[in-house]
Symmetry: C2
Subunit: 197 residues, 2 copies
C-alpha cells in the first residue's frame, strides 16, 4: 500500500538499536538515530511515540532474536552456556541493551515483565528436562548463575581485562574462557544431579 512504510520502520529500528546499545537511553540522540537511518526524525514520533517507547520496541525485537538464536541443545547443557557466551561475544548489542534497561529501571518492574516471564519459563523447563530433574527453585538458581557467568565477561570488560589479563579479545583468550565455562558448568550440573555428592 504505502511506498515503503515497513522498510522505513525497519531502518529506524536498526539505527535505534545501534544507537541505544552504544549510548543507552539517556545518552542516545534522536537526531542521530534519524540520521543513521536516513529518515526524518518526525517519523520516530509518528511510529513509536517517543524515545523511551522506541527503546522498548528495540528491546523486545532483540529479545525475540535472542530466544530464537540461542536454543537449548538436547545433548549438552554445558554447550548451551557456551552458546550464550559466544552469542554475547559476537553480538554485544543485546546484552548492552539489557544492561541499560536494568540500570534505567533498577528495581521498578519493567514494561511487559509478564510477557518476558513466559519466555524464560520455557527455557527453565527445557533446562530442567535436559538435566532430568524437576524445575525446582534450586534449578532456577543454577540456571540464573550460569547465564551470569556466560555473560559476565561481556558485562564487565574492564574487570575481565584486569583479572584475566590484558588480552581478552583474542580468539585464543576467548577459547580459554569458553573452556573454563564448559568445564565449570559440567561440574556444577553434575553436583545438582547428585546433590550433596
Amino acid at each position: 500500500m504505502p511506498p515503503d512504510t515497513a522498510r522505513t520502520r525497519a531502518k529506524l529500528l536498526d539505527a535505534a538499536r545501534a544507537e541505544f546499545a552504544e549510548h543507552g537511553i539517556a545518552g542516545a540522540r534522536v537526531d542521530r538515530i534519524a540520521l543513521r537511518a536516513g529518515v526524518n526524525k518526525e517519523r520516530i514520533y509518528a511510529y513509536f511515540g517517543n524515545k523511551e517507547q522506541l527503546f522498548q520496541h528495540v528491546l523486545s525485537e532483540s529479545l525475540q532474536e535472542l530466544t530464537a538464536v540461542v536454543t537449548m541443545p538436547s545433548d549438552d547443557p554445558a554447550e548451551y552456556v557456551a552458546q550464550i557466551y559466544d552469542f554475547y561475544i559476537a553480538r554485544p548489542e543485546l546484552l548492552r541493551l539489557l544492561l541499560w534497561e536494568a540500570l534505567y529501571y533498577g528495581n521498578e518492574p519493567i514494561p511487559d515483565e509478564d510477557r518476558r516471564a513466559t519466555s524464560y519459563a520455557v527455557k527453565l523447563q527445557e533446562f530442567a528436562e535436559h538435566l532430568g530433574v524437576q524445575p525446582t527453585p534450586d534449578v532456577a538458581q543454577l540456571l540464573f548463575s550460569l547465564i551470569g557467568i556466560a555473560a559476565w565477561q561481556s558485562t564487565m570488560p574492564q574487570m575481565a581485562r584486569i583479572i584475566l589479563g590484558t588480552e581478552t579479545d583474542t580468539d585464543q583468550a576467548r577459547a580459554r574462557r569458553r573452556e573454563h565455562l564448559v568445564d565449570f558448568t559440567r561440574r556444577s550440573i553434575a553436583s545438582v544431579k547428585q546433590p550433596q555428592a
Copy 2:
C-alpha cells in the same frame, strides 16, 4: 585554613555518587548534584574539572571503599563470595557505578586501568593462597566467574525477578540465593583443588 573546603568537596562527592549511581554519566545532571549537595555548581568545575572527571573521582573513592570493606576471610573463600553478594545487595551504588563505567567505556581502556590492576592482583594472590594453589590463569578464571555470580542478581534485577520468582527482595529470598552461592562456590573450589576429579 579555609572555612570548610574539604567539607564542601565531601558533600559534592556524596551527592555525585548518588546521582551517578542512579542516572549514569550521560543521565546525571550537574545542576542536580549541586542542588543535592547544597553547594554551588561552579564548585564542581573548580574542584573536579568537569562531569566526567567528577565521575572518575567518585568511582575511585568507591572502589577504595569496596576493597577496604570486602576482605578475604582466611578460613573460607566461599564466605568471600557471599560477602561480595551481601555488599552489593546492601550498597548497590558501587556496582551500578561499575556498570555505568563498563557501558560508557566499552572496550576502550578506562582511565587509570593500571592502578586498578594492582588492587585486583592482590585479591587474586590472596584467593590463590587460601586455595593453596598458585595464582594461575585458571584460578583467575575461577575468581572472575565467582565475582560474576555474586554480582549477577544486583546486575540484572529484572532477569533475577523473572527467573528466580517475583519476590527477590525479601530476606528469605536473599538468604536462599546466598546459600546457593556458598554451595556453588564450595563445589567449584573443590574441583579446582583436585582438577579432573
